[in-house]
Symmetry: C2
Subunit: 174 residues, 2 copies
Amino acid sequence: MRYAAEHGIAGLSLRPLAAALGTSSRMLVHYFGTKEELVARALTAARPDIPELLDARREAGETPAGIAASLWRDLTTGGERKPRTRLLLEAMALALTQPDVYGKFAAEAIEAWVTPLARVLREAGHRRRDAVARATVLVSGLRGLALDRYLTGDRQRTDDAARHVIRAATGLTP
Amino acid sequence: MRYAAEHGIAGLSLRPLAAALGTSSRMLVHYFGTKEELVARALTAARPDIPELLDARREAGETPAGIAASLWRDLTTGGERKPRTRLLLEAMALALTQPDVYGKFAAEAIEAWVTPLARVLREAGHRRRDAVARATVLVSGLRGLALDRYLTGDRQRTDDAARHVIRAATGLTP
DNA sequence: TCATAACTGTAGCAGTTGGTACATTAAAAG
DNA sequence: CTTTTAATGTACCAACTGCTACAGTTATGA
């Protein structure tokens, strides 16, 4: 997964990957069967454990805005999450033209975040449809901003923008 | 450009492209020199004419919120812009792991929209730094939502989310 | 101890890749 | 009409692709 996140899955090749891992393409095929399955496993591994991440913070008494802020921090601060997010973003982009291969992961990457986040927002008092919309703002909106951040490296601009987005998604509708 | 938007640029191959165009890979190389140059030309062609699009609406007396709304409509309604946006999104994702190849187009795709949009927002009364942040919300935030929309096809949820984002970017800060 | 199963290295296959060499035809320019 | 330039087809190259066949080694368990 780390190699895929660094080199991308678009042009991933078994031999260079095997060389980087100190093994041979022969072994990769032996363990994973096909390259497709290998990529699928990497993408599955990139999927984070959302319930734990969310429940821990909700039980700690954090407000939705606080949860969203720490989510943005996770997305942007160089940690374990950054390469995973990059991998998922690439899979989402590739799903645009190859939905049969990556579509499943792309849809799951969205759904897996929106649903539990919407639940948190409902408990904070938002109506169902609005809670789903606000969760979508946080998940897909912040992801768009994260992509911007990765590409331009402009911290101030993207942080400011994230604040606007978080306020819109967690504040009350006027 | 149309072929690239439909089949993706990640695994683009000269021979199938040539076949779809009714010519031969020989001719593609003859006209473009290299495949890399061909892709670069397609990406350049995908870049929209922003000033015209923006100025026309500003001079028509539209508010920033109105401009943003029509931008979202352009992004999602099946028109000329949708395949272009898809192409740029793929280039942005590929730029994550191959910045030397796609980085230029990715950064440009962001900058070319944020700068003129920020100017519109400044004229609407927002301070410079805030105007840039709000423009970023509209460009990268809405792009994230558009990606969501393309992948899930969920119109109501993404439209609702876009409304929240547009309100956050064009409304007054509390 | 011995049979079975898991592991791993070498070599290679058929297919595809971007790009080129060479030749030929068509068009434009003088 | 002649010369020069552009356009196009055929055949091919070396490199790389995912994957497999075969053989040999190592570990496991009865």
